[in-house]
Amino acid sequence: MKAVFKHWIIRFWLIFALPFCAVQAQAGATIEMPGFGELQLEGVPQRIVALEYPFVDALATLGVKPVGVADDNAPERLLPEIRESIGGWQSVGTRAQPSLETIAALKPDLIIADIDRHGAVYAQLQKIAPTLILPSRRASYAETLNSELVISRALGKEQQMQTRLEAHQQTMEKFATQLPQQTEIQFAVATPKNLYAHAPDSFIGGLIRTLGLSVPSINRSDSDEVRQIGLEQLLAFNPPHLVIGRYNDANLLQQWQKQPLWQLLSAVQNNHVYPVDANIWVRGPGILAAEQMAADLVSLLGQG
């Protein structure tokens, strides 16, 4: 009897509820974009163009393949697992100046753009296709995760993203238990000429703090996400652990390592300087990249 009842419920669900869900999804989402009005979507977008790396992270997380990506014509800048997940896409040029013609030729039904980089061409993007414009550059960890959630809402996959975000949180908590809590860590990117230190409010700063570690305050205000610093300034706040993102071997550290001041850093004296791949750490903040970074941190600092 119970089985039949269950059976009936399933039937009822299949006949009435499922089509209703489909209609719901087809009606499309309405998304509030502060400063840019409201985005009204008809149906679920199928042909998506993403103009910043973190948006691609969100799409890969949801298992959606974009038709076009502003990848700077350098697909290797995307995480290997993201590249694999989204498969073949058409490059639409650089993130700074994506080719509007190429985007138009792809006939997208949703463009995901960055407020900072693409705010000035929002009107034109909007003429090509409904455009979701979100903060991505200079966005904090929380803002980035929120952007991913907004993208999932536009794609009618909010539930899936919620689940993924919960899993993400659990992953982070698990990683946190493997890390020495309250350890102070400074992340910085070394380019051939400069060292850019990431502040507590940057994406990486937020990630590190989420993992129960701390980030030294390097600015008068923490909201200046990134700051260029010299060797003396680095020594002045002397972080016990130094994680250095490098794009390749040609970077500033090669010169600094020869200087006596470098040897005075306690991170250097205690062997707490860790090189990581700046491509993963800086270019594509997002869920997948964050988990990769946390895994990196565990393997570098982990307590077994």
Binding site: G35, N73, S91, V92, G93, T94, A96, Q97, P98, S99, L100, E101, T102, A104, A105, D116, R117, G119, A120, V121, A123, Q124, K127, I128, R138, N194, Y196, D224, E225, V226, R227, Q228
Partner: protein, 320 residues
């Protein structure tokens, strides 16, 4: 046929050909019929042709012609072939204002950039005027302008160094580009078009000016007045162009030179020819940025600098 007229017609033809190429070529290549069809609303190429390429083409024509004309006016006043609108510090003033907005106030919408840089350009021109006064000699204007330009440039460097995280945006703007500009920006440069006929009205006076202040005065030309009007026009033309496209370099230097070599220094011939030359240079530069390696789009300012740098060195050698 009159050789100057022939040169003018050839240039007109070249500009028309470059314009046609600009409409046809890009990340998506269109045959000419598709371009014509694309001008009609609702056609599948309407966006690419009417919303992207046509306004960008018109903008390249106006901005190229404006910068070149400003170059001729400044060179006419300063009487030095190495002079260019950059000498007035106007584009650097505009750049400083733009960089301050980009680097220090990243939260402000970039839609304000043209307005802010226009104000920066006009403020720089006012400062130059206040320092030099109405009766300054060309050399005083030039030296003051260069000093101011250098000061603004160092201020730009300072702002960018204090805010390295916004460096890329600032550098992109400072290179000068036509990317993403459309009809809205075209309306902003239209005042520059209104200034062009005024420059034609100055031809006779500028010719006299070229003889030297004493001769020009003896022949009945009010030299300081001519100088002021020509520079004011150059400021207006440069300010409108820079506000919309950023400081696209070298056109104001190259175009006057090429034009002088083609038709000589009489302003009645020089002014139309230089506007065509400037427009042609910018059209070709913008076309090159779009077709070299699509879908990558480089800023047009990079192209003019690649051409302009060597040309400037050639000029320096020749002048010496």
């Amino acid at each position: 046929m009159n050789p100057a007229l022939r040169t003018g017609l050839i240039l007109c033809f070249a500009v028309a050909a470059a314009a046609a190429m600009n409409l046809q070529l890009g990340a998506v290549n269109l045959p000419f019929t598709a371009v014509l069809l694309g001008l009609q609303s609702g056609h599948e190429n309407y966006f690419i042709v009417h919303e992207l390429r046509l306004p960008r083409l018109l903008l390249a024509l106006i901005v190229g012609a404006s910068l070149a004309l400003a170059g001729v006016l400044v060179q006419g006043v300063i009487r030095n072939p190495l002079a260019s609108p950059d000498l007035l510090g106007v584009s650097q003033g505009a750049s400083l204002a733009a960089v301050i907005l980009i680097a220090l106030y990243p939260e402000v919408s970039s839609l304000w950039l043209p307005v802010v840089s226009l104000l920066g350009a006009l403020a720089a021109a006012m400062i130059l005027w206040l320092l030099c006064g109405r009766h300054a000699s060309p050399i005083k204007i030039a030296i003051t302008g260069v000093a101011l330009a250098a000061f603004y440039a160092s201020a730009i460097d300072f702002v960018m160094l204090t805010r390295p995280q916004n460096l890329n945006d600032a550098l992109l703007w400072l290179t000068g580009s036509l990317w993403g500009r459309s009809w809205e920006q075209l309306w902003l440069v239209l005042p520059a078009v209104a200034l062009m006929p005024l420059a034609v009205g100055l031809c006779q006076r500028l010719n006299l000016n070229n003889l030297g202040d004493d001769y020009a005065t003896t022949l009945g030309s009010a030299v300081p007045q001519t100088r002021f009007m020509a520079l004011a026009l150059a400021v207006g033309l440069t300010a409108a162009s820079v506000a919309v496209c950023g400081p696209i370099g070298f056109i104001g230097l190259m175009a006057p030179h090429l034009a002088r070599r083609l038709v000589g220094g009489r302003h009645q011939r020089l002014i139309p020819v230089v506007m065509l030359t400037g427009a042609l240079l910018l059209l070709l530069a913008d076309l090159a940025t779009r077709i070299i390696k699509p879908p990558i789009e480089l800023p047009a300012g990079i192209m003019t600098a690649i051409l302009g740098g060597p040309y400037f060195i050639y000029l320096l050698k020749k002048v010496r």
